[in-house]
Amino acid sequence: MPSYRNILQAFTLSFKPGQLKTSLGQSSQPLLAALVLLSVLAVMPAHQVHATPNATGHIETDINNVEIEFTLPVIETGQYQRPYVAAWVEDSKGKAVKTLTVWHEDKKWLKDLRRWWRKTGRYQEENLDAVTGATKAPGRFTLSWDGKDYQGNPVKAGQYQLCFEASREHGDRSLLKQKFNLPGQGKTYRIKAGSELGPVEIKVL
């Protein structure tokens, strides 16, 4: 079961010097870690560096990193309730490899995130607490995927699909999907907005 800390790492969007320093300070071998970091910085183009410290303080570089920016639209209606939202990744066979986030209130209605619930939600009770959160008001949000599956193992190179689903009480359901390849060489994808969700911008490094 991923810890809250791991999830924070999974959500780390990009290289954040301040955060790194803190983590390095906790490392038993800060000097070595710093050297590793420096060597990584030396060989990689700046935009591909996604250094996140793992639980033991070692530095990992994730070139399989997916950055996502999306909008929950403002919907003018008398009966507005914040939508339930899920974002997850499926492999080329449609099997869910990782849930990135789930926003909900009562789990009773999680089934209304129809695809997410069927593909993965109903099998992942233990893995979900770490990625669930309360529903959110309209706005712009960011997410990222560190290229790891539920077990924390890096996924193989190949084709994947990012899925976004939103369902609102007394409103619509939106399902947005985008296929992408890993590694993605910095390619950017844009998904047009559905009635409850989007637009979405995905950058695959």
Binding site: L110, R114, R115, R118, Y123
Partner: protein, 285 residues
């Protein structure tokens, strides 16, 4: 299931018998599925996600419009099988003129089975009169002896075994309630009945007395026939392995009927027809 139960379903059968007797158009060649009103059990939810037990309400009716109410039915023969395999009766229920209703508390995670069965029904078909009119009696082979007119010809008695099933899943689906009983006509995966998805191929396997059964006549109809011209009914047959494949093009509840007729060794009938109805949900992709 037990024939010692109150025969409200059988009474319904009698009504059909009367109706059919008057309707010469329904001939011997008509499929057994045309014999009676399809009997369906329709839960208000097929998949649940909550953290606590939830009540599901189930409508039951016998009707040709999918899923509009026509005739309320006695539900004393309905059994509920919980994911752990334990069996319960439905307790009290409402039986109206047009539909029957019961509520069910889903208090175990996994897949539940709802199963209703009519007691065996016997029809004796014959041809009589100068015009070779095809007729039916609501009687088994022995009872028919006394009732048949002297000039009855081509006398065939058929026994019908009718059951109606549906499934409800809380959290992840399980397979305990889908295990074969090796008795009568049964349906199992590969596709779990709570895992049918619009636009994705689903595959079921039909078994008779525990063996895969070829040539089972399958009819599949999506909900809402009342509000469209095309019934959208697919007629299929199981292959040599008892398999049938289809791809639902509509999300929502679907109605499946499966029928197979075989020769019978019973002293009460010449043929036996097994009729299985199943209600399932095709989910949004």
């Amino acid at each position: 299931m037990s024939s010692a139960q109150p025969h409200s379903l059988a009474r319904l059968g009698k009504r059909f018998a009367k109706k059919i007797g008057l309707t010469a158009a329904l001939t011997l060649s008509a499929a057994g599925t045309a014999l009676a009103h399809p009997l369906w059990l329709l839960p208000h939810e097929f998949n649940l996600s909550g953290e606590e037990s939830e009540w599901v309400t189930v409508d039951a009716s016998a009707s040709h419009t999918v899923f509009n109410y026509d005739k309320g039915v006695g539900l004393d023969n309905v059994s509920i099988i919980a994911p752990d395999g334990s069996k319960q009766r439905i307790g009290s229920y409402f039986k109206g003129h047009r539909r029957s209703v019961f509520d069910l508390e889903i208090d175990q995670t996994g897949t539940w089975k709802l199963a209703g069965a009519r007691p065996p029904v016997f029809f004796t078909h014959y041809v009589a009169g100068k015009r070779n009119a095809e007729k039916r009696l609501f009687a088994d082979k022995q009872e028919a002896q006394a009732k048949l007119p002297k000039d009855a010809r081509d006398v065939v008695t058929k026994q019908y075994m009718v059951s109606s099933i549906s499934y409800i899943t809380w959290q992840a689906p399980t397979n305990t309630v889908l295990k074969l009983k090796n008795k009568g006509l049964e349906l199992v995966g590969p596709t779990h009945p709570n895992d049918v998805v619009r636009g994705e191929e689903a595959e079921f396997q039909l078994f008779l007395d525990g063996k895969p059964q070829a040539n089972v006549e399958i009819e599949l109809t999506p909900h809402g026939t009342k509000y469209r011209d095309d019934r959208k009914m697919q007629k299929l047959k199981t292959d040599t392995n008892g398999m049938v494949k289809f791809t639902p093009d509509l999300a929502g509840p679907w109605y499946l009927s499966a029928y197979i007729e075989l020769n019978s060794n019973s002293p009460r009938a010449d043929k036996i027809g097994h009729l299985l109805y199943m209600t399932f949900e095709s989910q949004l992709p």
